[in-house]
C-alpha cells in the first residue's frame, strides 16, 4: 500500500515514514499542500495520506478540500495529524472529507491503532 506524508517539517516526515514503513506502507513525501496536490495529480494511486494542517503555501484543510473536490484518488483514506485539538476544527476536517484525526503529540501505538481502524494495518 502507498502512503503520502505531507508535513512541512522534514524531521516529522522522516519520523512518520519510519513508523509507516514498519507497518509495511511504501511512502512518498510532500512539504506542503501544493506539493502534495502536484504529486497526487501525476502519480500512481495512493491508499493513504497523512496530512499536517499548518503548512506554508497551502495548508492541510485547503489541500484536503482540493483533493476531495477534484476526486483525486477517491478511495484514498486521509488522516489529519496536527496539534489542533478543538472539536470544531475536527468537525470541519471531517466535513471536508478527512477519515480520521490524530493529535500531536502521539505515540507510535496510537498511529498504528488508527491505521487499523482505517483498515490499513493488521
Amino acid at each position: 500500500m502507498r502512503a503520502l506524508i505531507v508535513d512541512d517539517s522534514r524531521f516529522i516526515r522522516q519520523h512518520l515514514r519510519q513508523l509507516l514503513e514498519q507497518i509495511g506502507l511504501c511512502c512518498e513525501e510532500a512539504g506542503n499542500g501544493r506539493e502534495a496536490l502536484q504529486l497526487l495529480r501525476g502519480s500512481a494511486p495512493f491508499d493513504f495520506m497523512l496530512l499536517d494542517v499548518n503548512m506554508p503555501q497551502m495548508g492541510g484543510l485547503d489541500c484536503l478540500k482540493a483533493v476531495r473536490d477534484a476526486g483525486l484518488h477517491p478511495p484514498m483514506k486521509v488522516m489529519m495529524v496536527t496539534t489542533e485539538a478543538d472539536n470544531s476544527f475536527i468537525c470541519r476536517a471531517l466535513e471536508y472529507g478527512a477519515d480520521e484525526f490524530l493529535m500531536k503529540p502521539f505515540t507510535p501505538e496510537s498511529l498504528r491503532v488508527k491505521l487499523m481502524m482505517l483498515g490499513l494495518a493488521a
Binding site: L94, M103, T107
Partner: protein, 205 residues
C-alpha cells in the same frame, strides 16, 4: 499490584463482534424486560466502560427507553475516581477513539475532553476486588474481564471465574482479553467462537 493499561475501544475487532452479533442477541433475549446490565470488571480509568456506552448510543437507538446500566469496577480508589470524573487528556483520546466519536461524545474543555452527561448517566464506577467477596452487584448480561487474569496466579483465577459466573445471567456472555482463556474453568463456561473472538457463556448446570 494494578496495571492501569487501557484505551478507548481497545481491540476494535471485539467491539465489532459485540456490535454485530453479541449485543443484538442480548437485546433480543431481553426485549420483554427491557433491561441490560454490563460489567466492565477491571475498568481501570474508565475508557472501556465509556466505550461500551458509546457503542450502545451509536448503534442501538432502541435502547433509549430501556433500563441500561454499565458498571465499571476496579481495586484502585484513584482510578475509580478518575473514571468517575470522565475527563481525558490528549494522549488518552488519541488512543483508539475515532474522531467522529470523539466530537460526538466528548466535549473539549481546556486541556481535557469530558465524556457527555448522557454516557456518564449510563455508567457507574465502584470498588470491587475480584479476589475477595464481591460487593452487591446486579446480575449481568455481558461481562468484560479483559487483560487482567494474566496478573493472577492460577488459584486466584479459578476463584475469579467462580465469582464472575455467579454474577452472570444464564444466557450472558463473558469476554476475556485476546490472549486469555478460561481453560481452567471449563466446567463453568462454554466457549463460543464468533468471528475470530472467543466468548464464554455460563454452562448449564
Amino acid at each position: 499490584m494494578t496495571i492501569n493499561e487501557t484505551a478507548f475501544f481497545r481491540d476494535h475487532k471485539m467491539f465489532e463482534v459485540l456490535r454485530d452479533t453479541i449485543l443484538p442477541r442480548l437485546i433480543e433475549a431481553n426485549s420483554s424486560q427491557r433491561e441490560l446490565r454490563i460489567w466492565s470488571a477491571a475498568s481501570s480509568t474508565g475508557q472501556e466502560t465509556y466505550s461500551l456506552a458509546m457503542l450502545l448510543c451509536e448503534h442501538f437507538a432502541d435502547l433509549a427507553d430501556w433500563d441500561v446500566k454499565i458498571v465499571g469496577t476496579d481495586t484502585s480508589p484513584q482510578v475509580i475516581e478518575y473514571a468517575r470524573r470522565g475527563r481525558y487528556r490528549r494522549l488518552e483520546v488519541n488512543r483508539g477513539l475515532a474522531a467522529r466519536m470523539l466530537v460526538k461524545y466528548l466535549a473539549h474543555d481546556g486541556e481535557e475532553w469530558e465524556v457527555a452527561p448522557k454516557l456518564r448517566s449510563m455508567c457507574d464506577f465502584q470498588y470491587a476486588n475480584l479476589c475477595a467477596p464481591l460487593p452487591k452487584l446486579p446480575i449481568f448480561d455481558l461481562v468484560l474481564l479483559r487483560n487482567v487474569l494474566l496478573y493472577f496466579p492460577q488459584e486466584s483465577r479459578s476463584s475469579v471465574f467462580r465469582s464472575v459466573h455467579r454474577q452472570m445471567a444464564p444466557g450472558g456472555y463473558l469476554v476475556l482479553g485476546t490472549s486469555e482463556q478460561a481453560e481452567d474453568s471449563t466446567n463453568l463456561f462454554q466457549a463460543e467462537f464468533v468471528r475470530e473472538c472467543y466468548f464464554y457463556r455460563p454452562a448449564q448446570t
